[in-house]
Amino acid sequence: MLLVLSEEHKEHLAFLPKVDTAVAAEFGRIAVEFLKKGTSPKIYEGAARKLNFPVETVQHGVEGLMFLLTESAKLMISEVDFQDSVLVLGFSEELNQVLLQLYLQHCSQIRSILSLLPPHPPAYCNLEWRLDVLLASRSLRQQVVPMVTMKLLLSTGGGNHSVRVVQTDPATLQHLITTLEAALASMKTNHARRILRNIK
């Protein structure tokens, strides 16, 4: 699948061949750093001054690179497709190779950064359990009620965690185990295998 670049995007990237390939490679490295850690406008100003270009041009160039990388990583386009998409920009072969290497090296990292963006339901982190026996309460003495107390640790995206403490009785625990084992078994059915194999 080819990446279709908008006219505006092509204009922004047109800044790259105007500098040395080494400098363009440096901008590539900066673009990846920005994707990982966030942008820092001071870098644009410093580079603009050194290279004698307006700040806006430098900024657009780096942002154009960032967008090129994120779009390519999002669609996980192949090496060939990436090269063909970039051909349209009319860059030198050396610059094309630099961009290709940049993409190939950082594709999976960028994908994992992007996967933090969509909404996440709370995800399972851990389960701790303990066994208790209820012996008496304010309303009834001399009881013997076994129960299992469980602490469920869930992560709710953005590094936050929520803790749920719940109880259950031995019979329900057995029922939960059976139900969830059936869930695990459903992944091994022919139907599931067929879908997992064929949708790639």
Partner: protein, 193 residues
């Protein structure tokens, strides 16, 4: 078993043949159990023909005393000798003691269940439901192609139910089930001790 003065007084009137005749006594004992178990604070529970001739205030005091006595007895798992000695203290005849004890035996289990359900507790898990889904793509990343589970545990607390929802991969679900199985195994070992 310690009983307060007002409870003892109420029981004394109940056991007094000049206040409650034999049928009145049986009916009030019955009504006392019923008002705890099924009547749900229905004020009409005392409108029995056998109780009509009894002074209203005495009737209410005896009813309250009997209900308190029943709850204390069940709470403490009182045996026949404890109940008999309490009723002897308020000069209850052996016959009436027998009638009371029979009713106590009959309804004890139900009242116990009632008392056991009173109290604050952690949310109690009743059931789990699951879905197996295949994550294909989202607005930010295409070609994700990963299966995952959506689990929903239904918990109940004080009559209101709540769902705990979360997602997990197959490995995480295996971890969860493994830990639950450890808990179940320790339970089994504990029962064999």
């Amino acid at each position: 078993m310690e009983l307060s003065e007002s409870v003892q007084k109420g029981l004394q009137s109940l056991c007094d043949p000049s206040v409650f005749d034999q049928s009145g006594f049986s009916v009030l004992v019955d009504v006392s159990f019923r008002s705890l178990l099924s009547a749900h604070a229905d004020p009409g529970v005392l409108d029995q023909p056998e109780l009509k001739h009894i002074d209203r205030i005495v009737l209410k005091q005896s009813h309250a005393a009997a209900a308190t006595f029943i709850l204390e007895a069940v709470k403490q798992h009182a045996d026949k000798s404890t109940i008999s000695s309490c009723l002897e203290d308020v000069t209850c005849s052996a016959e009436r003691t027998e009638i009371f004890y029979d009713a106590y035996q009959k309804h004890k289990g139900e009242v116990e269940g009632l008392l056991a359900s009173i109290g604050k507790r952690l949310p109690h898990i009743n059931d789990a439901s699951w879905r197996l889904e295949y994550n294909m793509k989202n607005g930010h990343v295409h070609k994700v192609n990963e299966p995952f589970y959506q689990i929903s545990l239904s918990a109940e607390k004080d009559g209101s139910s709540e769902d705990i929802n979360f997602s997990c991969t197959m490995e995480q679900l295996q971890d969860l089930v493994g830990k639950m199985k450890d808990a179940a195994k320790s339970l089994e070992k504990a029962t064999q001790m």
